[in-house]
Amino acid sequence: MNSNNDKPHIVPYRTFIFVLLALLVFTFTSIGVTSYNLGPYSVLAALLLATAKTILVLTFFMHLKWDVKLFSILVAAVMALIGVVIFITFLDYLFR
């Protein structure tokens, strides 16, 4: 946000309050969804909600929305790498 020669972007307090509320709603939604026994779907729902929460934290709390684009690209690359490793690991376990 503030590299030395940029004007810093001041994020209003209410933005963080709204993000916090959204995070809490997602948390209670995931508690609610997983309390029903939906088998593999509750795992999927819990992981999707956790991913949505992570994106909110990265975008707003960690200032990626206002920081240099490079950081967002690198975060996406690292997430993609983790995704590929998980995918390949499970290919091995499911089809061995």
Binding site: T27, T34, V57, F61, F90
Partner: protein, 204 residues
């Protein structure tokens, strides 16, 4: 440099944040590795993991989630406060973050204490009688939440140093990259918990 005056130019805020992000990537890969270990063992021992996960207290896990999310919001707001030259408010928000972080650890202490009282700890006789799956579940539970708690302690020390720097005016409205980096670290700890909570407490 429009709209800003600098007397101290021997710093590189962008480079500083870049370094912090690179460190965060190594942390993400470390925990991702542990999550893969958890996922594959869960896949291979799903019945044991199903029973063992029921032992964990969802309420205390949810409480700690709310606590960590709130502390993440307050440390993020403290950056806004320091940018607006509201030093006292920034210190109050950082203070809330640290206090709430300590509450998280206290909860963890009681949670672990109860598990250990019930004989559920790595290498315990009770656990060995259950079987391989339960041993794996509780081994991973103690290792992963323990490593996460260690990160909370490091984060608290980091924010503690930054807090003193704010008091001494070493961190000001035009030089606060250290506060940003402490915040980034704290948010990383938050993200790790966002995945630990559903995987250990919610999915049974």
């Amino acid at each position: 440099m429009p709209g800003q005056s600098h007397t101290d130019e021997h710093r590189d805020d962008l480079g500083s944040r870049f370094g912090m992000w690179l460190f965060i990537f190594t942390e993400l890969l470390l925990f991702a590795g542990l999550f893969i270990v958890y996922a594959t063992y869960r896949y291979k021992n799903w019945q044991a993991f199903h029973l063992a996960a029921k032992e964990l207290n969802t309420f205390i896990g949810a409480l700690n989630t709310v606590i960590l999310l709130t502390s993440s919001a307050t440390i993020a707001m403290s950056i806004t406060a320091i940018q607006q030259k509201r030093k006292i408010l920034a210190m109050v928000l950082m203070g809330i973050t640290m206090a709430v972080g300590v509450v998280f650890l206290v909860n963890k202490y009681f949670e672990w204490g109860l598990k250990i009282q019930h004989g559920l700890y790595p290498g315990s006789q009770t656990l060995l009688e259950f079987g391989k799956g339960e041993v794996l579940f509780f081994g991973l539970y103690f290792f992963m939440t323990g490593l996460h708690a260690l990160h909370i302690i490091v984060g608290l020390i980091f924010i503690g140093f930054v807090f003193v720097y704010v008091i001494r005016n070493r961190i000001t409205f035009d030089n606060y990259v250290l506060l940003e980096n402490a915040g980034l670290y704290w948010h990383l700890v938050d993200i790790i918990w966002i995945f630990l909570f559903p995987l250990f407490y919610l999915i049974t």
